[in-house]
Amino acid sequence: MSISEQIVRDLVANNIAFVTTVPCKQLGGVIDAVEAHPDIMHVPANKEDEGMGLCAGAWMGGKRPMIIMQNTAIGVTINTLVTLTQFYRMPLPMLISYRGELKEPVACQAEMAVHTKALLAQLNIPTYHFHKQADADELDAILKYTFMCNKPVAILTDATFWGGY
């Protein structure tokens, strides 16, 4: 089983049935597996704050949501995370590619990487960092935690986790 298939297996096991995505090369395998899975409705979004709005509606409609995006999106979505997801106390697992870490070929990505964990900490968002493939064994517990506490939760997945670029 590939790591992408393992991740989607855990999503389905936790009844996540609505996934919105903004494209990412590293998360491409997960996005493809989400699209292919019959138990998941996949709604691509044009921007991450729009995706978080879709997720809020899906959750209120009875479907557990998830958003898949890059860490640059933290800069885009702070207002939405604070005034929608947190203010109304909604659960939102965020599977995030942690661009700008070790093995990153694009210098500009490092500029957002250095702010990523600081911003998440400032927002009091529980944050988990997958660096080695075995770290993904915790995904099931992280998802259960997210829907227990009704918070946005960040899962950062770096280039080493994905096996480089």
Binding site: F18, M41, N46, D49, E50, A56, M60, K63, T83, L84
Partner: protein, 184 residues
């Protein structure tokens, strides 16, 4: 007619349906005119009423009306292609287009100038788009609910606001009450 006149007109039509209402004065006015447990009031996050409404419509079978404004749709213009390409026939997007940012003091929007939101929605691929005068909004909504087809309604009206109190309900109370109504 301005936005609050439209909200008074449509209140009897939307009362028994799930409503996601835009931030600021639209939510405050609807809350004052006809507060219902089936209303989800946005207290922040400009632009996302249409997205929340679409996610809700795609996730359960009841009919959903998102009440948005021209300024908020312009803020989140990417919503229109997403709506067009993820058809939910239980979804109606009502854009009350007064050509201004009402909640912030009626500064003009581009929708009040050269930009036609109905044409934008059509160009984005929305199949059923109707533009109506303010006085015809309630009938257009009733028609769209009856045919049960995903519809974007652009209701053109005058700018201008009424005096209205802010919503002091706790957001979690609004959300929990709404989710109970969704499930009932």
């Amino acid at each position: 007619m301005n936005r609050s006149d439209i909200l008074r007109d449509i209140a009897p039509v939307i009362r028994d349906h799930l409503v996601v209402c835009n931030i600021g004065l639209p939510s405050q006015e609807l809350h004052m005119i006809d507060d219902q447990p089936t209303n989800f009031y946005m207290l922040g996050t400009m632009g996302l009423a249409s997205s929340i409404g679409l996610g809700l419509a795609l996730s359960q079978p009841k009919q959903v009306i998102a009440i948005d404004g021209d300024g908020s749709v312009l803020t989140n213009l990417g919503t229109l292609p997403t709506i067009a390409n993820n058809v939910a026939d239980n979804y109606i997007l009502l854009i009350i287009d007064n050509g201004s940012y009402g909640s912030t003091g009626d500064q003009p929007t581009y929708a009040g100038k050269k930009t036609a939101l109905a044409a934008v929605a059509r160009a984005c691929g929305c199949d059923t788009v109707v533009e109506v005068a303010a006085k015809d909004t309630a009938q257009a909504l009733a028609d769209a609910l009856a045919v049960r087809r995903m519809t974007v309604i652009v209701a053109k009206c005058d700018s201008g606001n009424i005096k209205v109190p802010v919503i002091t309900k706790d957001p979690v109370v609004i959300r929990d009450r709404f989710m109970t109504a969704v499930r009932s």
